[in-house]
């Protein structure tokens, strides 16, 4: 990962609203790893944070692998915020929320100082 620049350096128009669930935090981590921008708020737009369509396709694959679900890519490309993505992904997760895939799970990386639990949905 490249050194993260702050979202303010990107001149983000929307105010920073932190992710508000483990799933959102998990998604935000994946964004940070792809974009090299930190922190990522739940209403930030992937493309305004410097993402492009090629990166979005890579990120979709990161999300598939990290969460073990295959959400329609339309959410990421057309409604590209953490909050929207989490809503789409949540509908696809098994109700028990437990068995998150561990395939290719990237090392947990903290964005806001909080340690990230191995099972992102443990407290949802």
């Amino acid at each position: 990962m490249t050194t993260a620049v702050s979202r303010d350096q990107r001149g983000m128009p929307s105010p920073y609203v932190p992710p508000d669930s483990e799933l959102e935090r998990r998604l935000a981590q994946l964004w940070v790893a792809r974009l090299g921008v930190s922190p990522v708020g739940r209403h930030d737009d992937f493309f305004q944070l410097g993402g492009d369509s090629l990166l979005a396709a890579e990120l979709q694959l990161d999300i598939d692998r990290a969460l073990g679900v295959e959400a329609d890519a339309a959410t990421l490309f057309v409604a590209p915020t953490i909050a929207e993505l989490a809503a789409t992904v949540r509908d696809l997760l098994p109700p028990s929320a437990e068995p998150m895939s561990t395939v290719d799970y990237p090392p947990a990386r903290s964005t806001a100082g909080a340690a990230v639990p191995a099972s992102p949905l443990a407290d949802e």
């Binding site: 492009d52 369509s53 090629l54 979005a56 396709a57 295959e70 890519a73």
Partner: protein, 422 residues
């Protein structure tokens, strides 16, 4: 230089050349462009146009002579494709650089292109004859009874008849992809424009296409098959598989490469031939199908320009282009250069030789050219078998674009050929 064509009414005063705006879609969408190119070829073959707000660029050079266009497109040691290949990317970073074939320089370009080329080359193109034939018949099926129709609307379906089978896209998705490709390439066209405006239309079309191919790639990664998406997923370049972004971006580029260009070869040819006896002349000569298609390609030159950026100082027709400066090669102008084509403003279905640059030149020479030629020959053959004559049925409307030359609307009336004539 060979003799100039007779001066037409659209002659341009050479003194006005410094004010010509080649980034103006209205100029490129009118026949006035031929007069402008003509004067540029004669008086300013290497022409600088300043652009006030073009990111890191201060403007761009234009080359209009066949020789220079050929050189700029083909000389990858002096010119890079990694800093934008279209005017609308002037001075901006191209996210596809090094990932999408068209935006990648040798040697990486060759390693990316070779496997894809095998799947799209002459012998592979033959595998698609049946599919493309069926697609072409389906386009004309609604019009076999004759009457009036919009040829541009009908031809919008032609690219999917080629790219659909190539990428293994289900037929049910073809209309959607045709619409999305239209949003990406004819954002000004009322048929595609969203109420939010042209910029929103472009963005939306682009994002939805990427989303579509992201889903398709994921599905093919799970259960591979013989189509090109699966091939891109399996491919390794320099020992590394292509990233998912590169796979998706190449699918996008294949679809758009076909969509922006293919329909406009027949539309430009028919806009010129309809209502004249030249249509019937060509239609009756199946031996001229191949040379006529080449002439239609030269005539239409659907891709008006491609851009490169100089890697080092380069001399072009006596003008030195500095390193880092953008050069726009006007294919449409090269294909009307009287130094290479006798009577360039005449549509001559027998023209030979016909070394047009409609498919570009050098390493980036259109990878879809075999499929494009196949589709065009099948289309014209089917058209000639369907209509005895075609006449204009109202004013055609041109596409407004600096890149794309073609028609948004081309209303025609067709007189069906009697069965026993076939």
């Amino acid at each position: 230089m060979s003799p100039r064509p007779a001066p037409g009414p659209a002659r341009l005063d050479p003194a006005q050349l410094s004010r010509v705006d080649l980034a103006d879609p209205a100029l490129l969408a009118s026949d006035r462009r031929y007069a402008v190119w003509d004067q540029l070829r004669q008086h300013r073959p290497v022409h600088w146009q300043p652009v006030p707000d073009a990111g890191t660029a201060r403007g761009f050079w234009s080359v209009t002579r066949y020789r220079d266009v050929n050189r700029v497109l083909a000389d990858h040691t002096c010119f890079t494709s990694e800093r934008g290949t279209l005017l609308n990317l002037l001075g901006r970073r191209d996210p596809a650089a090094g990932q999408q074939m068209a935006a990648t320089d040798p040697p990486r370009h060759g390693r990316m292109r070779l496997p894809v080329q095998r799947a799209m080359g002459a012998s592979s193109a033959r595998r698609y004859v049946r599919d493309v034939q069926a697609g072409v018949r389906a386009l004309l099926a609604d019009h076999t009874a004759g009457g009036s129709f919009d040829a541009a609307t009908m031809l919008a379906g032609l690219p999917l008849a080629v790219v659909g089978p190539l990428l293994g896209v289900p037929v049910a998705d073809w209309p959607d992809l045709t619409r999305l490709a239209g949003m990406c390439t004819a954002e000004d066209d009322p048929a595609y424009r969203l109420p939010e405006g042209t910029a929103a239309t472009l963005r939306r079309g682009h994002r939805e296409l990427f989303a579509y191919f992201t889903d398709l790639a994921r599905q093919r990664a799970r259960s591979g098959s013989e189509d090109l998406v699966s091939l891109l997923l399996r491919m390794e370049v320099d020992g590394q598989p292509l990233g998912r972004g590169a796979v998706v971006s190449n699918c996008y580029s294949l679809l758009l490469g076909a969509s922006v260009t293919l329909p406009h070869v027949p539309t430009a040819a028919l806009a010129h031939l309809a209502g004249t006896d030249r249509y019937a002349h060509w239609a009756h000569r199946s031996d001229l199908l191949t040379s006529g298609v080449e002439e239609a390609l030269r005539w239409a030159s659907p891709a008006s320009h491609f851009m490169r950026v100089a890697r080092r100082p380069v001399d072009l027709s006596g003008v030195t282009v500095a390193a880092g400066e953008a050069v726009v090669a006007w294919l449409g102008s090269a294909n009307r250069d009287p130094a290479v084509f006798a009577r360039p403003d005449e549509f001559d279905v027998r023209r030979a030789p016909n070394r047009h640059l409609a498919f570009g030149a050098g390493r980036h020479y259109c990878i879809g050219s075999h499929l494009a030629r196949l589709a065009l020959r099948l289309f014209f053959a089917e058209l000639f078998a369907t209509f005895e004559s075609l006449t204009p049925d109202g004013e055609p409307v041109r596409v407004r674009s600096t890149f794309l030359s073609g028609y948004q609307q081309l209303p025609l009336v067709g007189r069906p050929r009697r069965r026993d004539d076939r």
